[in-house]
Each structure stands twice: as C-alpha cells, then as structure tokens.
C-alpha cells in the first residue's frame, strides 16, 4: 500500500514484491514456503540431538530425572505452556488477518504475540533464577542435597542429577534462544505491518514467521512433559 507506484514501475509488469528470477508470484510463494519447511526440518534434527541424549540418560538415570523433574515448578511450567499456546493462537489469527488485509487487527495480534513471547521468557527467567538459588545449576556449586532430603524415597546420585539439570538447561536454554530469535522476527514483522507492507497479495513474511513461531511452540509442547512431568505420581 505505502509502496508507491514508482517502485511498481521499476519492476516492469510484476508487483514490487516479486523478485526478478521468479516467473510468478505463486512460484515465489511456493519456494518460500518450501524453504521454511525445510528449515524447520533441520530444526527437528537440531533438537533431535538433545532428545537422543535425553532418552539415553532418562533410561539410565530415571531416579535422578524423576527427582529433578519434581523440583521444577509445575505451576509455572503449565502457565508457560498456556502462554505459548495463546501466542500460537494470536499468530494463527494474525496470519488470517494478513490474508484478509486487516492491517490494524494484524498489528494488534502481532503486539499480543510479542507480549506473550516476552511473558514466556520472563516466567522462564523466574524459574531459572529459582534453580540458581537452589544451586541446581550444573558445575562446581551444584548441590542436590535438598533433593535428597526432600525425596528420601528416591535414590539420588548427585552427579547423575547434574546430567538431568544439564539437559534441562541445554534444552530450555536453546528453546529460549529460539524464542528470542522469534521475538526479533516478530518485531521486524510488526514494524513492517504497521507500515502497511503486507497485503492479501503479499504476506509471505507473516506466514513464514508464523510457521517458525508455531514450530517453537511445538518444541515446547514436547519439552513440557519431558522435563516437568517425568514422575509426579504420589511417592509411596
């Protein structure tokens, strides 16, 4: 919209967003979508490496995983899951708004998404800080004696407990990094959406950013049970 007809002229008969090496806008959209999906495929393998480590050590050191999992704050974990799901909703609605050319709605939804994303990181930060306070960060100052005291029914080896928390921090840390990147992407999208760059004919960036955001949500959907819900049943 705000892109002037001058720009249009420079691009000959096709629209300003169609790059020269594509024949049609459809071809360009399909290429972009395929590219994004391939990228998400690589992301699956990226997290997959950690899932393998998780699987092996959870089989080996179930007790320590169970105790570590119990020590996480399930309320905050659940709230965070809900926050992310809400953000996925706003993203999905945002893509729809872009499709239909509702610029104001799109801007509002993008802002909401950013708020949810930041809320997620904030809550994550609170949880990490608690872990820091409890000396549950792996390394020289790691101390699992509180877990041994709190869960006398579970046989805990403190060094194996470090493996659980190593994985916890690696997995949630890299997930949080993806969230931060997502927030960066969405800030960019918000800026351009506010300027009215996206139209029902051209909203590929919104669509791709949305795919990325949903993917990060899906990763969390798995991380939540894998890290928080390992073993919560009443201790006998």
């Amino acid at each position: 919209m705000s892109d002037s007809p001058v720009a249009l002229e420079n691009h000959g008969q096709h629209g300003p967003e169609l790059r020269h090496h594509f024949a049609t806008a459809q071809q360009q959209r399909d290429a972009a979508s395929l590219g994004m999906w391939l990228f998400l495929g690589t992301e699956i393998m990226f997290f997959g490496g950690m899932f393998l480590a998780y699987l092996i050590y959870r089989l080996w050191y179930f007790n320590e995983f169970a105790a570590g999992s119990r020590s996480l704050d399930i309320k905050l974990g659940t709230v965070n899951t809900i926050v992310l799901i809400c953000s996925s909703l706003t993203v999905a609605l945002g893509v729809r708004a872009a499709q239909m050319g509702k610029r104001k709605l799109l801007v509002v939804l993008l802002i909401l998404t950013l708020i949810f994303g930041l809320a997620f990181l904030g809550i994550k930060g609170v949880e990490w800080y608690a872990k820091y306070k409890e000396h549950h960060i792996p390394g020289a100052s790691f101390d699992a004696s509180d877990l041994i005291r709190d869960y006398p029914q579970i046989h805990i080896d403190p060094s194996h407990e470090q493996i659980y928390f190593s994985l916890y921090f690696a997995m949630t840390g890299l997930h949080a990094l993806h969230m931060i990147i997502g927030i960066g992407i969405f800030s960019y999208l918000l800026y351009h959406a506010a300027k009215g760059r996206y139209t029902p004919e051209y909203y590929t960036p919104i669509d791709l950013g949305g795919l990325y955001w949903h993917f990060v949500d899906v990763v969390w959907i798995y991380l939540f049970p894998l890290l928080y819900l390992i073993d919560r049943k009443p201790l006998g």
Binding site: H21, A31, G35, F46, F47, Q162, I163, F169, L174
Partner: protein, 546 residues
C-alpha cells in the same frame, strides 16, 4: 548451437558491473560461486600447507621438526580446514552454485540473498577459524572426541567449535537453496527424468546437508556448553557417556563423506558421457543410487565405533548396513565404465580426471569393504589404513572430481580455455603424486602404525618417506592448475559457448553466461545426454581451439 561468433565486449555476468561492491553485495549465483572459489582455494592451500608440515614431520621417526603439541594442532587444523572449509563447500558451493540454476534453466537460485548470506557465514566461520589458528590453534583432532575436548584440552576448542557451527549453518543454507531451486525453479519441460545427473547428485547432497548438519551443530553446541557453562552431558565423571558424543558426531560426520563425494560423482557423470559422445549408461540407476547413498549413508555411522566400546550386537547391525551403502556406489562405478563401451572417447583433461576419479574411488571404496568387516576393522581402525582409505575417497575422489569439474566448466565460468597440454600434465602429476602419497599408508596401517602419531617406531620409516615424497609431487600437481587457470583468465584463448560439444542447458548460453543466465527462457524438449543430436566439435577436423 556452438558456432556463435564471440565478441569479447558482449555483456556477461563478469563484466556487467565492476568494483568491489558489485562483488561483495552481489546476489548473482555465478558471482557468489566465484567468491566461494576464491575462498575455498585459499583454505585449500592453508590446509595443504598443514598437510605438508605433517608429512615433513613424519619423514623421520623422531619428533624433530615440530613440538608434539604443534603436531597435534597441525593435524587437527588440517582436518578441520580441509573438511569444513574446503571439501564440504568445494563442489556444491562453487560448481553447484554456478551450475544448478544454469543446468535446470533458471535465472538464479530460489533465494539469492540467502545464497550470499551463506557465503558471508562461511567467511565469518573462516575468519573465526583463522583467528583460532593464529592465536594458538586447537588440538582435539577434527573429531572433537569427549572428554578430551570438553575437559582436558587447553586449546581453543570453543572458538573452533563455534566456527564449525557457523560453517555448518552456511552449508545448511546452501543445501536448502538447492532443494528449493531444484523443486521450484526448473524450466518448462525440465522434468525429473531429464535432469542432469549432476543435479540429482546435488539434490541428494542437499538432503544430507539439511538432515545431518543440524546434529553436528547441536553436538558442538553441547561441547561448548560443557566447556563454558560446565554442563555435564558427556562428562564421564558425572555419569555421562563419552560414546554418546561419538554417536551424535558420526551421525553427521559419516554422511558428511557423502556430502563430499556425491557431487564429485555428479561431475563424473557429466564428463564421461561428454567425452564418450554417448548418453550415459543406466541414467535411472545412477540417479536413484545417488538418493540411495544419501539415505543409506545415515544408517551406518557407528562403523566408526567398532572398537569404541559399543554393543557387540549393534556393531553387527552397523557392519551389515555399511555393506548396503557400498552397493549404490558400485552401481555408479559400473555404469560409468559401461558408458564408455562403444563410445567415441577423447582424452581431454576433464576426462583424465574422471578416469582418475573412477580408479581412485574404486580403490577407496574397496578398502572401505575392509573397514566395514568387523574382524579387520578392529585391527586397522585408527591406523594409517583408515587415513589412506578416506584420502582415497576424499582426495582421490572428491578433489579429483572437483578438479575435473573445474577443467570441464572453466570455459563456461571464465570464457577462456586453459592450455590443454598443461592440464593433462597436471592431471598426471596429481594421479601419480596421490598414489605415491597414500598407497604406502595402506601398508603402514596394516603394519599397525596408529594415526595421529608425532613420532613412530623406526620400522615404519621407509613407507613414510615414500609418502612424504609423494606429497611434494602432489603439491606441485595442485599448484599447477591454479597457476594456469589464473594465467588463462587473461591470456587463454577465448572459449566457444560449447567448446566440448556437451549436452546440457549450461552449454546453450554464452560463455560466460549473462547475468540472468539465458537471453530467453529455455524450454526443454529433449532428454538429458542427447549426444546423438550434438555435433562433436573435434570430429570436424578442426581441433578444439578455434
């Protein structure tokens, strides 16, 4: 189609714009290919320099040329530079970048800016690696085995790891670009069954890059986390399993071998038909075997770990699967050879490299059978036998293929011809030097000389001397092409659009091609390798040069 009069002033991708900016900010896949060419050549000679120092050190049994720690850094950085900064980007990022759009009749790759981004990522990674090298280097071996890399090495492991992480990102983006381009950007009529086998090979390569590289990335990230934040995922003192690292590492690093060799196979599949004037034998078989290698290549990684302490039963599984991946490789060799049958064969430089490739790759592949055999592997793994084997594949195979491809497409890339007799001479030197360098290492390996040894018992000396002698010959063979390629850019004879009379869309445009590759969008109505329809330039009395 190959008779257009060449006017040097004709606008092409090289002379359309001038100035450093027009190169550094280019989104033209052909210019980016040249950027890659310059950068990987640089790293090739750095890695080669390390290799020569290694060979010089091994001239005598005593560790006398460099210190032990220096030696360890030399082989580490030789491996890292050659694998991640030369071999993996070599054919895909240079020839693939240049040729994939041309061969399928596209104006550019699907994501030109991402293509440029991958070059910049490569450069960032390269600068990090160089910085790491000049400020002390790293001594973990290119394999980064834990717990040595996480807890014992005092060198710049973090920097090297991050550098390779970034280089991996560059590799992923290249692969992603190729897959999307091959799916979405083919010219009308360019069906899958008409794709040149070079494209099939790059498609298979890209699959590996996409699905394997992220696993290496996360593995290196975890190593970095372990060093920097003291996480303990691979730490045996906390119950971590050092073998987990090896599983993750080889899940990428075994298929990575196919990232190096598959594109070279694609090059050979272009060269052999051209200089045999024949349609390639068994097109479908070769195309599918590329995909088969990409898939099976992921099922065999633990054959690097037969003595590492993993389960005996899974060793059996991985050994059997390893033989599976040998079948498609064998299919390719047989088909290339069969292509020559009843052909009309000329001995041009690219063809000599293709011969060299087939021969050396065959030997590399056959010695792979030794290593996949469990009982033999126990004895020869981690010895010079392995070194010899993978250099036959990577240097005898991938580098031969790369050089063959460079000679084949150089007229298209530069618009000039290199001196043919020098090309043949260099090819011969490379072949001889290579065999002299690496064949003795098979014997050394079976004798029991372990790899990564700075000093060694004296009975191994004679073979080591032979190997070092060969390496100097090999070095000459590698410098020569660089010299005459550079020379030809200014003084070489102007090349025809299609100097070899080759099939393929890339030969139907001008040499060098215009910025958008084709003056008119091509429409494909013929099958690949339609050599029956292409006149042989050499057959018309007039020799290649015009």
């Amino acid at each position: 189609m190959a008779t257009a009069v060449i006017t040097p002033e004709r606008e092409n991708y090289l002379n359309q714009e001038y100035g450093i900016r027009s190169w550094l900010l280019t989104v033209d896949h052909k210019r980016i290919a040249l950027l890659y060419l310059i950068s990987i050549t640089f790293f090739f000679f750095i890695g080669g320099f390390f290799a020569l120092l290694i060979r010089l050190e091994l001239l005598t049994p005593a560790g006398d040329l460099v210190q032990a720690d220096t030696y360890n850094k030399l082989f580490t950085m030789h491996g890292m530079v050659m694998v991640f900064f030369f071999l993996i980007p070599s054919i895909p990022a240079v020839l693939g970048n240049f040729l994939v759009p041309l061969m399928i009749g596209a104006k550019d790759l699907a994501f030109p800016r991402i293509n440029l981004l991958s070059w910049y990522l490569y450069i960032i990674a390269g600068v990090m690696m160089l910085h790491c090298i000049v400020t002390g280097g790293v001594d973990t071996g290119w394999t980064f085995y834990t717990p040595f890399s996480t807890a014992f090495s005092n060198t710049k492991v973090v920097e090297a790891g991050l550098s390779i992480f970034v280089a991996g990102f560059s590799s992923i983006l290249t692969g992603l670009n190729f897959v999307v381009t091959i799916h979405r950007m083919r010219a009308p009529g360019m069906t899958w069954s008409r794709l040149p086998l070079f494209i099939w090979a790059h498609y298979a390569t890209s699959i590996i890059q996409l699905l394997g590289t992220p696993v290496l990335a996360i593995t290196l990230v975890l190593v970095v986390f372990e060093r920097v934040f003291h996480l303990g995922i691979f730490d045996p003192t906390r119950g971590g399993d050092p073998l987990l690292f090896q599983h993750l590492f080889w899940f990428y690093s075994h298929p990575a071998v196919y990232i190096m060799i598959l594109p070279a196979m694609g090059v050979v599949a272009e060269i052999v038909p051209c200089f045999s004037r024949k349609r390639i034998f068994g097109y479908k078989a070769i195309a599918l075997s590329s995909i088969a290698i990409a898939v099976f290549g992921f099922l065999v990684w633990a054959h690097h770990m037969f003595v590492a302490g993993m389960s005996l039963y899974s060793a059996l599984i991985f050994s059997a699967l390893s033989y599976l991946v040998a079948v498609p490789s064998a299919i390719k060799v047989f088909n290339w050879t069969a292509t020559m049958y009843k052909g009309s064969i000329s001995f041009s430089t690219p063809m000599l490299y293709a011969f060299g490739f087939i021969g050396l790759f065959t030997m590399g592949g056959l010695t792979g059978l030794f290593l996949a055999a469990l009982g033999i592997d126990v004895h020869v793994t981690d010895t010079y036998f392995v070194i010899a084997h993978f250099h036959y594949i990577m240097v005898g195979g991938a580098v031969m293929g790369y050089l063959g491809g460079m000679h084949f497409w150089w007229p298209k890339i530069s618009g000039r011809l290199y001196p043919e007799w020098l090309g043949k001479f260099a090819a011969l030197i490379v072949f001889l030097g290579f065999n002299l360098t690496f064949f003795p290492q098979f014997i050394l390996g079976y004798m029991g000389m372990p790899r990564r040894y700075w000093q060694y018992p004296p009975e191994f000396q004679v073979l080591n001397v032979l190997s070092t002698a060969g390496s100097t010959i090999l070095a000459v063979g590698y410098v020569l092409p660089m010299v005459y390629f550079l020379w030809s850019m200014r003084y070489g004879k102007l090349a025809d659009d299609n100097p070899w009379g080759a099939a393929g869309l890339e030969w139907q445009t001008t040499s060098p091609p215009p910025t958008f590759n084709f003056d008119k969008e091509p429409e494909v109505t013929w099958e690949a390798y339609n050599y029956d329809q292409i006149p042989d330039p050499a057959a018309e009395e007039v020799p290649v040069e015009r």
